[in-house]
Amino acid sequence: MAIGSRPPPPQFWPKLRRVLGGQTGWGGVLGQLVLVAFVVWLGYEIVANARANMQAQRIASGFGFLSQTAGFGVSQALIPYSESDSYTRVFVVGLLNTLLVSAIGVALATVIGFAIGLGRLSPNWLLARLAGAYVEIVRNLPLLFQLLFWYLAVLATLPNPRQSITLLGWVFLNNRGFVVAEPVAHASFWPVALALGIGVGIAFAAHALARKALFDNGRVLRIWPVVLGSLVGLPLVVALALGAPLSFEAPVLKGFNFVGGLRIIPEFVALTLALSIYTAAFIAEIVRAGILAVNRGQMEAGSSLGLSCGATLRLIVVPQALRVILPPLTNQYLNLTKNSSLAVAVGYPDLFSVFAGTTLSQTGQAVEIIVITMGVYLLISLITSAAMSFYGWRVGMGLGAT
C-alpha cells in the first residue's frame, strides 16, 4: 500500500537545541552559559583593574582630551591642519590618511593581483614563469622588510629635488617624494562633472534596457554607441560649450624645492607600493585558485551549447570563480587595511601612527585611544566585508538569465 506524503513533524525544539548546543544537546547549552558568565566576569575584572590603576596614576579617564590642542605637525593632511588644532582633528587627519592609503592600495593590489594571477595561468611560458616568480619572491619576504626596502633602498636613492627625474615636465621624482602637476578646477568643472554623472546614469539605464529587451522580446540592442556617447560625448560637448573643466599647473623648481604642483610624500609612495605589491601576490593566488576551481567541463558545456567564448566566460566561468574568490579576497582587503598601520615604521601619518602613537604618548589616555582605534579599524573592516558581501550577492543575483 502506498504511503501518502505528509508534512514533517514540528521541529522547533530540535532546531533550538541544535542552534544553542550544537551536537552536544542540553549539556552543551549549560556549558555555553558557563562560558558566557566567565567572559563577562573577565571583562569586568579588566575594566575595574584599569580604572583602579588609572586612578592611582591620576590619569583622568574620559574623552575630554579630544578637544585639547595637539601641538604637533603632520606631514600629510587631506584637510587643512595646523599644530594648534585639536586631537579630534588629528584623529580625522590620521583616519583620512589610513583610508587613502588603504583605498589606493586595495585598488592597485586588485589590478596587479588579477594580472599576475591570470598571467600564471597563461599558456605563454615566459609570462607564466615571471608571474610565478613574482608570487614566490613577494609572498615569502616579510612585509616590513619590503616596506623598508621601498622606502630606504629605492626612494631614498632618488636624486635631490634639483636633479629630479622628470617625465615630460609634469611629474618629478626625487628623494623628497613625487611632485606632479596639480589639477585646478575652473567654473565649468561642476557642469562637466554633472554631465559625466548623467552619462553614467544613461549608460546603466541603456544596459538595463538592453537586458530587458533581450529577455522580454529577444531583441539584441547594440548599446555601445549610446554608452560611448553618454560617457564621453556628453561631457565633451559640455566642456566645449563652457570651456575646459580642469587645467594642470606644472610644478616649477624654485631654489631647493618645487612650488606649485601636488607633492606626494615618499612615505606614502613606499607604503602604497609595499602594501599593494605584497597583497597582490596573495590575490594572484586566490584568483588562480578560483579559476582553476571551475571545472574544465563547464567551459565545454557552455561552448557546446553554442555560447561564444566571451559569453561562456561571463555567464558561466566568472560567476563560479567569483564565488570562490570573493571571501578570501575580502580577507586580503582587510589585511591590507590593517597592515597599513605599519606606516609607523616609515613615519607615514596614518591613524595608528598619529593617534595610537603620538597622541597616546602625549596624553597617556591609553584605554580611550586604543578603544577608539580598535573601533575604527573594526568599523572599516565591517564596512569592507559588508560591501564585498553585497557585491557577491549582486553577482549571485545577476547570474545567467536573471
Binding site: G218, G306, L307, L315, L399, G400, A401
Partner: protein
C-alpha cells in the same frame, strides 16, 4: 533510412602531439539514424565525437554537420555547435543556475528567444525527460540520473539536429541508468539523430541503426546491431564482445 546525411566525416585524422589518436575515420550519419559507438578504453571514441562539435580540433579531413563545413581550422564553430547537442559523462550542469535557468541560458543568449517563451519551451523539455517538478532546484540537489536528464533537456532546448552522448550512463548507479536510457529511447523513437558512445549493449540492440566498433583510433567495423552481435567480422570485435557481454 533516408539517404540525406546530417553528419559526414571524411578522412578524419587527429594527433595529440605525436600520438595518432584518430586514423582515417569515415562515417556518414543519415537523418534519424542512431549510431552507437563502442570500443575498448582509450580507443578514441570520446575524441571522435568531441571533434564533431569542435571541442577538439583535428589536423586532417573534413566534418560537415547539416551542410556546415568544419575544416581543420575550425571556422564556423559556433554555427555547428548550435546544431549539435552534447551530453557529457559527468553531466556538466551549471551549478550556479537553477534547473530552469540551465535550460533557458542558451536559448536566451544564443537564439535570442524571449525569456517567457524560453521558459515555456524549457518546461516542455523537462516534462519530456519527466522532471518538470525539479525546475526550481539547483543541480546539486538532484540525483545523478535526474542531473543527466536535465543535461539532456538542456541540450534539447537548442533544437539540435544531432545529439551526441559521451558515455551518458557510466557515472550512474545501476537503477539510474535505466531512467536515463529510457529517456534516450524516447528520443530515438521521436526520430532524433543520435551518436552515442556507450557500453550498454542492450540499448544498442534495441535502438541502434548501426553499431560502430573502434579500436586504436580506427573504425574496425560498422554494422547493424543484429549482424554486429550475431556475426562480428573481426577477431578484435569478437574479443571485445566476449569481454563486455560476460561482465
Amino acid at each position: 533510412m533516408t539517404t540525406e546525411a546530417v553528419v559526414t566525416v571524411a578522412g578524419l585524422n587527429k594527433w595529440f602531439g605525436e600520438f595518432h589518436v584518430l586514423r582515417d575515420i569515415n562515417l556518414e550519419v543519415g537523418r534519424g539514424e542512431r549510431i552507437v559507438i563502442c570500443g575498448p578504453s582509450g580507443s578514441g571514441k570520446s575524441t571522435f565525437i568531441r571533434c564533431i562539435n569542435a571541442l577538439e580540433e583535428f589536423q586532417e579531413g573534413r566534418i560537415s554537420v547539416d551542410n556546415i563545413e568544419l575544416g581543420p581550422n575550425l571556422r564556423r564553430v559556433d554555427e555547428v555547435r548550435r546544431e549539435v547537442g552534447m551530453v557529457f559523462q559527468n553531466f556538466n550542469l551549471f551549478p550556479h543556475l537553477s534547473v530552469l535557468d540551465n535550460c533557458t541560458l542558451a536559448p536566451i543568449w544564443v537564439r535570442n528567444i524571449p525569456r517567457k517563451a524560453a521558459e515555456a519551451a524549457a518546461m516542455k523539455y523537462l516534462e519530456r525527460v519527466r522532471i518538470p517538478d525539479q525546475a526550481d532546484k539547483f543541480p546539486g540537489q538532484l540525483s545523478g540520473g535526474q542531473q543527466q536528464r536535465v543535461a539532456i533537456a538542456r541540450a534539447l532546448t537548442m533544437n539540435p539536429k544531432v545529439m551526441l552522448f559521451d558515455e551518458p550512463t557510466s557515472a550512474l548507479d545501476p537503477e539510474m541508468v535505466k531512467e536515463v536510457l529510457d529517456t534516450m529511447v524516447d528520443l530515438a523513437k521521436e526520430g532524433m539523430t543520435m551518436l552515442v558512445v556507450t557500453h550498454e549493449m542492450g540499448f544498442a540492440r534495441e535502438i541502434a541503426s548501426r553499431v560502430v566498433f573502434m579500436d586504436a583510433g580506427q573504425i574496425i567495423e560498422a554494422n547493424t546491431p543484429r549482424e554486429f552481435f550475431a556475426n562480428p567480422q573481426h577477431a578484435r570485435t569478437r574479443l571485445f564482445l566476449s569481454q563486455i557481454l560476460r561482465s
